[in-house]
């Protein structure tokens, strides 16, 4: 549905997007992930024909963004970072206007306005001025605007930014419910959002593509072994000698690395990483107890998408 090849966008002095390629299948939800200024918005703007690329090609629904922008625009719904609403218009009036812009008219348009108002739960504010709406409502009006012409592709730039937790959950559910008929690209820097909604993740940093994979693959590929936090103290509640404990832990079978974390009061903490596919918690516990120490804490540190993200974008891959 979307095919981007070698996409590059250069501004006067800097390169915003550098040679990015990815593909999105029909009906998928793709999370576009990256720190602020990574080039997410620029890429989306190229896809929506707002900006022409400096190099490479982008193909949406079978049409090239440079050669057939009108055809692409007909098939794409776009919610920019700030919803593009006119404060002096009423909600219904605004949706009708956007519908007309997208080429709808007459009875089908009135039907669509009603449909999307219900879908986005904004039917109750139909007669209100957009300028008087809260941020959450305005965002939903923005979303309604993006889907009014039933586009094949939806491009959402940070659709949940600035919403309260309840609204975020609601918006996520709404986006998920749209995924069947629409191919969705959404950008965000909130990682739970990608874990909660997306099937595929595209991570970019400083304009470069650093990962493009399914959420499961990405987490399992990078997770490797498990990481365990271990906290120990002497039997009589005394502080132990850190290098000695570290040495002991390193001898446990299946441990790949032990990192000293901190020593607080009498307790010393370490992060123990296991080899790929091995669970070391039981062995570590046994080793500690057998050495005659108190095991005060032991828990697995899950490697979240957050860690992966930081690993990838900070540039030091393990």
């Amino acid at each position: 549905m979307i095919k981007v090849e070698g996409l590059t966008k250069r501004y006067a002095r800097n390169v915003a997007v550098d040679n990015i390629s990815f593909e999105v299948q029909k009906g998928q939800i793709v999370g576009f992930l990256g720190p602020n200024g990574a080039g997410k918005t620029t890429t989306m703007r190229v896809l929506t024909c707002f900006l022409p690329p400096t190099g490479g090609t982008a193909n949406v629904a079978g049409y090239d963004v440079i050669e057939k922008p009108l055809e692409v625009k007909k098939r794409i719904g776009y919610l920019p970072e700030t919803p593009p609403v006119y404060p002096e218009m009423e909600v219904g009036e605004y949706l009708t206007f956007v519908g007309r812009l997208k080429g709808l008219g007459g009875a089908p348009l009135a039907g669509r306005v009603k449909e999307v108002s219900e879908q986005c739960s904004i039917a109750d504010v139909n007669k209100k001025l957009i300028g008087k709406l809260s941020k959450g409502y305005r965002q939903r009006v923005g979303l309604a605007q993006a889907i009014i012409h039933n586009p094949d592709v939806l491009v959402l730039d940070e659709p949940t930014s600035g919403l309260d937790p309840e609204q975020i959950i609601h918006t996520r559910d709404l986006i998920k419910s749209l995924s069947g008929n629409h191919t969705i690209i959404l950008s965000t820097h909130i990682l739970q959002e990608v874990e909660a909604m997306c099937e595929q993740v595209v991570i970019i940093s400083k304009g470069k593509l650093v990962a493009n994979d399914s959420v499961e693959n990405l987490t399992s590929r990078l997770r490797g072994g498990e990481t365990v936090l271990v906290e120990v103290e002497g039997r009589d509640g005394s502080l132990l000698d850190a290098p000695m404990v570290q040495q002991k832990l390193e001898q446990v079978a299946g441990v790949s690395r032990v990192v000293f974390k901190h020593a607080r009061e009498s307790r010393t903490a370490f992060e123990v990483e296991s080899l790929q596919g091995r669970s070391v918690r039981a062995d570590v516990a046994r080793a500690v107890v057998e050495s005659g120490w108190n095991l005060t804490e032991l828990h697995a540190l899950g490697l979240s998408l957050e860690d992966i993200f930081l690993q990838l974008t900070s540039g030091d891959k393990k």
Binding site: F50, L70, K73, Y78, M89, L101, K102, G103, Q145
Partner: protein
Amino acid sequence: MRNVLVIFRKEINSYFVSPIAYGLMAFFALLAGFFFYSATTMFVQRGMESQMMGRSFPMSVNEWVIRPVLSNVSVIGLFLIPMITMRLFAEEKRSGTYELLVTSPIRDIEIILGKWFAAVAMYACILAISLLDLLILFAYGKPDWKPMMIGYLGLLLQGGSLLAIGTFISNTTRSQIVAGVASFAVCLLLWVLDWVSAFETAAWAKVVSYMSVLTHFEPFSKGLIDTKDVVYYLSMIVLGLFLTARSMESTRWRA
């Protein structure tokens, strides 16, 4: 064409839901009313004077009332036009709705034409108020209506060309204030260019004076349609709209 209408309707609505339209119309009604009042008073006084002196000569309402009123209106137009055009694009760029327009399946030129037509229609509504004053003349006398209509055609053409330039300037900035001030400066400049002909008769002065919007309005106020003036106004309109289209294209590349 349908898309032009969509934009046109939206723009007209936004003029009339905000106080801009009413404010401008009230301001204009006051000024035009004053000009009309002073012109008719002058006309009546001169008429009485010439009668008292015993050598009454025919005085034309067209020449004594309609023409000065139209000339004055054309000058007020220079002040109103920046206020009409300043928000056209600047406001959309500031609020982010520009992105909606540009990513909709609609051509740049359709957006520009829709906005420009709306601005012209707004200006025509304002001008229509001065027409109300002049219609009073028809109740008491028999002015010739054809030159008057030609005068209004001239006002529309002059307005149209300045509105096109204002549209262009509004497209170059995100700030309404900047757009308004810059358009006003350009309007004023195009007005005073004519003044060089007062002290200089060299060829360059003629060229400079030719570029003034007001020189070209004079024949219209007399009820004359000169091709030269029509061509001048039409080319100004095309130039303004063409520059707007170029500006839209260039913001796309520069972002």
